[in-house]
């Protein structure tokens, strides 16, 4: 009896939900409003899924960078990602979001600071939807920051992370995001908006330029260049970890690009995600071919860099190009990253290839929108790609204009991010210092900055047995092995000694 009643109640509730017009005397406008709400909620559900995928990319950066580091610098990578993630979160919540999305003028937003309920951001009341979008923006800011540290592995002082992460999350990234996505300077250049769908410039170039500024003041790792200035290889300790990082980033990218639709309308995110996959695949193939031609071996790390470059490249055009263009964007990025890594290596010590995979591929991706953007998909007021100007019936001048606008985005990002970053890093260098001492670098950041090893057994043999074992011989126990001091000389770095 009870069950029957319950069933009847359920049916009634179902009818009230699904058939509001029948169940109650709802008017048509009321139904329309209800549907609109549901659509909004469905959109945010997709953004929530995408947001989690983008947060997962932190894990990707962590593994990628640890794999490209030596064993003595494995643990520090974990601490770095966690601490940066935490600081950038608070900085974005307190200040960054307001500057990026808070309306305001051409240069920065002026509302939404210390994001809270009962607040008006850019003229609109804060809702659950604003919170979701704010969190999604935070995930992007955190990705951008994670890119910065790729060039600084194995020698930077931990304190530098703390200071720069706060400045980056509060000011640097938000300024660029505001210019392109927050209704700022680059959202309307003579009527044309910069088309950067998910952030080849805003996120990836920004991170890479920060990385360049850090690297210029930090210098190369000890032993990276010989007496004649020729680069030497310092191999990372784990290609499996690099591979894990690459694939996690790759998967996260579906949230990065796909979620940037911000809606589920027409399942357009499917198009974006397919473009993303095509470009990533082409990136792997492009880089593999390029590195094989160069060195006659299929380099594991380079294949991974190719995937990342393809993904960075397609980030800006993913929502603006047809499927045929995506592999072109990816394969060019893949070729670019191999030759860029080798060229940059002659001058600058970039252990993971962040300048190439995120910087140059980011520039290429931003410009490629101006080459391949489809008239079907372009933003309002924007010009289609040059391709359609030459091989299609679109006016070429309009297309070239858009390409110029894309170039301006690159220039703006570079100038703004580089200027603030180099000043910030210079201040860090002048105060708390940017680089660890020679001894600390030789010993590794794990033991010198964190007081522990990422892989303890390699350095301290069975520490748990060093004291307290019963001794059957009745002689005094052997004194415990002295804890390994910072004398670990790197076996490869010591080759030339």
């Amino acid at each position: 009896m009870k069950r029957k009643l319950g069933l009847a109640a359920l049916l009634a509730a179902f009818a009230a939900l699904v058939l509001p017009a029948v169940a109650s005397a709802a008017t048509l406008p009321e139904v329309a409003t209800g549907l609109e709400e549901k659509v909004g909620e469905l959109n945010m559900t997709w953004v929530a899924v995408a947001c989690v995928l983008v947060f997962l990319m932190q894990c990707g950066f962590m593994f990628l960078e640890i794999g490209f580091s030596r064993q003595k610098n494995a643990g520090t990578g974990v601490a770095k990602v966690l601490v940066n993630f935490a600081i950038v979160t608070l900085a974005w919540w307190a200040i960054g979001y307001g500057i990026a999305e808070g309306g305001g003028n051409n240069f920065f937003g002026d509302s939404g600071f210390f994001f809270h309920f009962d607040q008006t951001v850019a003229g609109e009341a804060v809702t659950g939807e604003s919170a979701m979008l704010m969190l999604y923006g935070m995930a992007f800011c955190a990705v951008s920051l994670a890119i910065v540290w790729g060039t600084t592995l194995e020698r930077i002082k931990f304190g530098a992370y703390v200071v720069y992460a706060a400045v980056f999350g509060a000011i640097i990234y938000p300024l660029v995001a505001h210019a392109v996505w927050g209704g700022g300077l680059l959202s309307d250049i003579g009527g044309k908006p910069v088309m950067d769908f998910a952030g080849s410039s805003v996120v990836h170039l920004t991170g890479a330029v920060g990385a360049l500024a850090a690297l210029l003041l930090l210098g190369a790792r000890k032993g990276k260049y010989d007496a004649n200035g020729n680069p030497r290889v310092i191999p990372g300790h784990s290609m499996p970890l690099v591979g894990l990082g690459v694939i996690i980033l790759w998967i996260g990218w579906f949230g990065f690009n796909g979620g940037s639709t911000f809606e589920t309308a027409g399942s357009f995110f499917g198009e974006v995600m397919l473009n993303t996959q095509l470009a990533a695949a082409a990136g792997v193939i492009g880089a593999s071919i390029a590195v094989y031609l160069k060195s006659r071996s299929l380099d594991v790390g380079m294949a991974g860099n190719g995937a990342i470059a393809g993904l960075v490249g397609i980030t800006a055009p993913s929502g603006y190009v047809e499927y045929w263009a995506a592999p072109i964007v990816g394969i060019v990025a893949g070729f670019l990253v191999v030759f860029a890594v080798l060229a940059i290596d002659k001058l600058l010590d970039d252990p993971v290839g962040a300048l190439s995979a995120h910087g140059l591929a980011g520039i290429w991706g931003t410009l490629s929108v101006g080459l391949f953007a489809s008239p079907r998909l372009i933003a309002e007021g924007a010009g289609p790609g040059v391709w359609y100007g030459i091989f299609g019936d679109q006016p070429l001048s309009n297309s070239l204009g858009q390409l110029g606008v894309q170039g301006l985005a690159v220039l703006f990002t570079f100038v703004v991010v580089f200027a603030i970053s180099i000043v910030t890093f210079a201040l860090i260098k002048a105060t708390i210092g940017l680089r660890v001492s020679d001894e600390e670098e030789e010993a590794g950041l794990d033991i010198s900055s964190h007081g522990m090893y990422g892989y303890p057994e390699q350095f301290i043999p069975q520490p748990e047995y060093s004291t307290g074992l019963p001794n059957t011989m009745g002689v005094p126990p052997v004194p415990a092995a002295a804890p390994a001091q910072m004398t670990a000389t790197e076996s490869l770095g010591g080759l030339d000694a």
Binding site: P231, V233, D299, G353, L492
Partner: protein, 122 residues
């Protein structure tokens, strides 16, 4: 007493160990060693650049035996470690002053003899 130190290829170890055990020499040590000799180093490719590693991984096998057993052990090592190619390694024989079994504290050549009951499980 003699200590026999042999730098050998990794793949030579298992046949040597098996035969030494059969012949009554279960006690031995191996150490992962890196060294250089007439065999050249390894040229690695990493991110499109070449990296020359001037030492190669080898195993260092250490056995301490009574003087009379030295030829037998050396022959066993030679038999299995020799491929005829550069890089087969070298054997060094050193005099040993003393040997002490830690568990019992006993010294001298008996220490080098395996116990009957341990021969099969060593």
């Amino acid at each position: 007493m003699k200590k026999i130190e042999a730098f050998i290829r990794h793949e030579a170890f298992e046949p040597i160990r098996t035969e030494l055990l059969e012949k009554g020499f279960p006690s031995l040590s191996i150490i992962e060693a890196k060294g250089s000799g007439r065999q050249k180093g390894i040229v690695e490719q990493y991110r499109g650049s070449t990296l020359t590693v001037n030492v190669r991984p080898k195993l260092k096998l250490e056995v301490v035996v009574e003087d009379k057993d030295k030829p037998l052990v050396v022959e066993t090592i030679l038999k299995h470690a020799r491929t005829g190619e550069v890089g087969d390694g070298k054997i060094f024989v050193l005099p040993v002053e003393e040997a002490i079994r830690i568990r019992t504290g006993e010294g001298g050549e008996p220490v080098l003899q395996a116990h009957e009951e341990e021969e099969t499980t060593a």
